[in-house]
């Protein structure tokens, strides 16, 4: 018999709030942050989209990440560590410092060999790669050019040289630990090191579905008895000094276009949608735990994970397959795994990016499988797209929605692409079963099914 799996803790770092309480409060208030792209990016490329969702400044030491650790980690990893710490504390684990002054912890009441870490990310430590690559490319060229500019360049050419030198700005050093900062597995490894967890430690790189895939695989690992506790989730940090990551999505035509009111540019499932809002990133970590293990500790579950499935489109590296057949098969597989029928699903946290293709196909599939009954929203209408973190953040939203019997609106939705039961106002609902789904560049589809804990 399969073991029951519950979520006993969660931690979130997002553009609209740091910490689960603040994040959830802002969700219910339909908070979003939309800002213009940094002016310096315009020096390097002509960008079509002009908007993004920035992360708030955060003090990594408040997450329990020391300066010495921060200096050796990509910001994505720092955020995942922060979310993991919050999730563990909320799950009721006592963090015991390893030794006087130690940066690592041991966890009371936890068999670390029976605990796993399952983290998703789209681009891993790409910020650290790009930051150091600028040093690699520019440092010596810049010195040579500056020497020429200072000693031999004609006066009339000086302004152009100064402009070029400014564009070659780079960090002060090529970091001696950069290889361990940008490797995709840095975040899951850092969680294992930080909390002395010695069970399976796995990284999932399925782009925009990475957080959901990680959560699903962690669920299976606990359900099937491979581990008793899993730290799972996702992290992403998409900022870089030159706007490279933004341009990568912009040049593909996937990002929102500016409009008269930038605050309404991000409008998933609306007929006037124009693309997704690029987010600087975020992180979410959930503690999944075998039910009896949680009961013995006296932990209070937030929700129960009851199903997971994944499929692959085998169609295009960047576009959903028309008709969404593999998405439908994925949803039906997740429901079968959960042992629930479509009419029993009360709430769907959609992938809902705001691109033309995604929203049209996803809405069509939702109606085909569920009819118009379940509430539908997309957390990306608030945060923008946090890529590898999004599925994990949305799993947290789904769990909280079931527990609280309410959920956030689908922001900026005026004329829906399809007549579904989109959340227009925050109200009380009897939400028993929810599904959170993600689709990724490459063709990966994944969904987790959650149930209100009782």
């Amino acid at each position: 018999m399969n073991r029951r799996v519950v979520i006993t803790g969660a931690g979130v770092i997002s553009p609209i709030g740091i910490g689960v309480d603040e994040f959830w409060r802002q969700c219910l208030q339909a908070k979003s942050v939309v800002a213009p792209v940094p002016a310096e990016w315009d020096r390097y490329a002509t960008l079509r989209s002009r908007l993004l969702a920035p992360l708030p400044d955060f003090d990594s030491e408040s997450f329990g990440v020391s300066r010495t650790e921060r200096l050796q980690l990509d910001p994505m990893t720092v955020m995942v560590l922060g979310a993991a710490r919050e999730a563990l504390e909320r799950a009721g684990f006592s963090l015991v410092p390893g030794a006087a002054g130690s940066r690592s912890f041991t966890l009371s009441a936890l068999d670390v060999e029976r605990t796993g870490v399952y983290i998703g990310t789209g681009i891993g430590g790409m910020y650290s790669f790009l930051h150091n690559h600028a040093h690699q490319l520019f440092q010596r060229v810049r010195l040579a050019l500056k020497s020429y500019a200072d000693e031999r360049a004609p006066a009339e050419g000086r302004a152009a040289l100064d402009d070029a030198l400014a564009m070659m700005a780079h960090g002060s050093r090529f970091h001696p630990f950069v290889a361990s900062m940008y490797m995709p597995n840095a975040a899951s490894a850092a969680v294992g090191v930080k909390f002395a967890i010695t069970g399976p430690n796995v990284t999932y790189g399925m782009a925009c579905a990475a957080g959901t895939v990680a959560t699903g695989h962690a669920y299976r690992a606990v359900r099937d008895g491979q581990v008793d506790v899993a730290l799972t989730g996702g992290g992403e940090y998409l900022y870089d000094e030159h706007g490279h990551n933004f341009r990568a999505f912009d040049v593909a035509g996937t990002l929102v276009r500016d409009c008269a009111d930038p605050q309404t540019a991000n409008r998933p499932f609306d007929q006037k949608r124009s693309g997704f809002l690029f987010s600087h990133g975020g992180a979410a970590v959930l503690v999944l735990e075998e039910l009896e293990h949680a009961r013995r500790r006296g932990a209070t579950p937030i929700a129960e994970v009851i199903g997971y499935a994944e499929t692959f489109d085998a169609h295009s590296m960047m576009s959903l397959a028309p008709g969404g057949a593999q998405i439908e098969r994925m949803i039906r597989g997740a429901l079968a795994d959960a042992g629930v029928a479509p009419h029993e699903v009360d709430y769907v946290n959609a992938h809902g990016t705001g691109t033309q293709n995604n929203d049209a196909i996803e809405a069509e599939v939702i109606e085909r499988v569920f009819s118009k009954r379940p509430l539908v929203n997309t957390t990306k209408s608030l945060l923008g797209h946090t890529i590898g973190a999004s599925g994990a953040i949305e799993a947290v939203v789904t769990a909280l929605s079931l527990r609280e019997g309410t959920t956030h609106v689908c922001k900026n939705l005026e004329t829906p692409v399809r007549d579904l039961n989109f959340v227009r106002t925050v109200g009380k609902h009897d939400l028993r079963v929810g599904l959170s789904q993600s689709f990724a560049f490459g063709g990966h589809n994944a969904a987790v099914v959650l149930r209100r804990y009782s």
Partner: protein
């Protein structure tokens, strides 16, 4: 000034070594006494760079042995360079 620098260097040592300040003697060898391997030495100098907002060429580490050597190096060399901040 030098005393303030010494305190700041010792604070960085404490962070990197995960030890208390009274466990770090000024005449201790960073390699043989404090057991700083090459990775820890790089960590130390990156943290010193952050503390003093200066870039320190990592190759200079080779010639420094004791905690006091490093304090003197920060006072006489590192702080003579313009701040990176």
């Amino acid at each position: 000034m030098d005393n303030e620098v010494q305190q700041r260097v010792l604070k960085v040592f404490c962070e990197v070594l995960e030890r208390k300040e009274d466990e770090i003697q000024l005449d201790a060898s960073i390699r043989s006494d404090l057991q700083l391997d090459s990775l820890k030495q790089m960590t130390l100098f990156i943290a010193l760079e952050d503390e003093f907002q200066r870039t320190i060429p990592l190759e200079v580490v080779v010639g420094l042995d004791t905690v006091k050597d490093i304090i003197d190096f920060v006072v006489k060399k590192v702080l003579q360079e313009p701040s990176a901040a």
